[in-house]
């Protein structure tokens, strides 16, 4: 989807990050610059943990601001985005590094990043219940926001239609 968006020139600090990511991971990741300070790194679930560890230890991204999941029923995939931010990294406060990972819908499993970034805790739980994506290694993957008696499919899946709306509205 993001391919259609016009690519922009990264800021100097972001440029260094892109270079360092490319030189370390090479073909395993595809790095896109969405805006001068928004870098998007696409990878697969096998490399996600290594990439996150690298982002924390080498690139000084110290916390996760957001985890979002998107359902793509046409591709039968679910896309998980981790948005990483930095407080202590030099000149990095304006940069958001997005780690993107796509998993197939029928096998929605992903290694949890909670050991690397403790701040993903509640975001991962929310993504788990909203999209049914299992984060392996998360200590307390339980219901968070939905009522206790929720028995439908996870609501953020595109297959779930809102009850208050007619079909196709």
């Amino acid at each position: 989807m993001s391919g259609a968006q016009a690519k922009q020139e990264p800021s100097p600090r972001a440029h260094e990050l892109v270079n360092s990511l490319n030189s370390t991971f090479g073909q395993m990741v595809s790095v896109t610059v969405l805006r001068p300070n928004r870098i998007r790194v696409q990878t697969d679930r096998a490399n996600l943990r290594a990439l996150a560890t690298f982002a924390r230890d080498m690139l000084h991204f110290d916390h996760c601001t957001n985890v979002s999941g998107t359902d793509f029923p046409k591709d039968k995939q679910i896309q998980i985005d981790y948005h990483l931010g930095s407080i202590d990294g030099e000149d990095l406060r304006s940069v958001i590094l997005g780690l993107t990972c796509r998993v197939p819908s029928d096998d929605a499993k992903l290694p949890s990043l909670i050991e690397i970034f403790p701040s993903v805790d509640l975001h991962e739980r929310e993504t788990y219940e909203m999209l049914g994506v299992t984060f392996e290694g998360h200590p307390e993957l339980a219901r968070l926001l939905l009522p206790e008696d929720w028995s439908d499919i996870p609501p953020m899946l595109k297959a779930y239609r809102l009850p208050g709306r007619l079909e196709g509205e």
């Binding site: 439908d152 609501p155 809102l162 709306r165």
Partner: protein
């Protein structure tokens, strides 16, 4: 009120029926009237007068209308003028639930439990469009389309969120309703 009147309507004797007269004995009828006028009515008046000036609301915030509730109890609007005292944490001492907006499916059983635990008599004000019909969340998967399926509502206050003046108007309406009611 309308519902009550409808329920009572068939019980009213029609014109010309036997119970239309003064009863079996004029003395008993007079005594009944004296008791009614001397004891029952003043007691009713006192109870209703006490109730309408002493409505203590439960501290139950279901959603975002609680901000305007805060404004109502604040200095500018000051609900305490009407005897509405928001100082009691325990629902055992309260008489009024103000449903502050949206009631979600997770909150709904709690709201009902709270209503059931309160001592009689008790009143409910549905504040905000969400608690009346669901409001902007009418199509949400987790929102009740109105709380009147859950608890009997006495006064509806539309608005999203209602202005504090509207809520005060609701209090006055509720007081009017209590003034005209019989003691249970």
């Amino acid at each position: 009120m309308v519902a009550q009147e409808l329920e009572e309507a068939p019980k009213k004797p029609g014109p010309g029926s036997k119970s239309d007269g003064p009863g079996l004995n004029i003395l008993v009828g007079k005594a009944r009237q004296v008791i009614q006028e001397a004891i029952v009515d003043p007691v009713t008046y006192l109870a209703n007068w006490g109730r309408l000036y002493s409505l203590w609301p439960v501290h139950l915030e279901t959603a975002c209308c609680s901000i305007e509730w805060g404004a109502v109890s604040g200095p500018r609007f000051d609900a305490e003028r009407y005897g509405i005292l928001e100082a009691f944490g325990s629902l055992r001492q309260c008489d009024l639930i103000v449903v502050h907006g949206t009631v979600t499916r997770k909150m709904a059983p709690r709201l009902r439990w709270i209503y059931d635990q309160m001592p009689e008599p008790k009143w409910v004000i549905a504040m905000g469009a969400c608690s009346i019909t669901g409001g902007v969340y009418f199509d949400s998967y987790n929102v009740l389309p109105g709380v009147d399926q859950l608890v009997p509502v006495d006064v509806y206050v539309p608005g999203c969120p209602p202005r504090p003046e509207e809520l005060i108007d609701a209090f006055v309406l509720l007081q009017d309703k209590i003034r005209k009611s019989n003691i249970r």
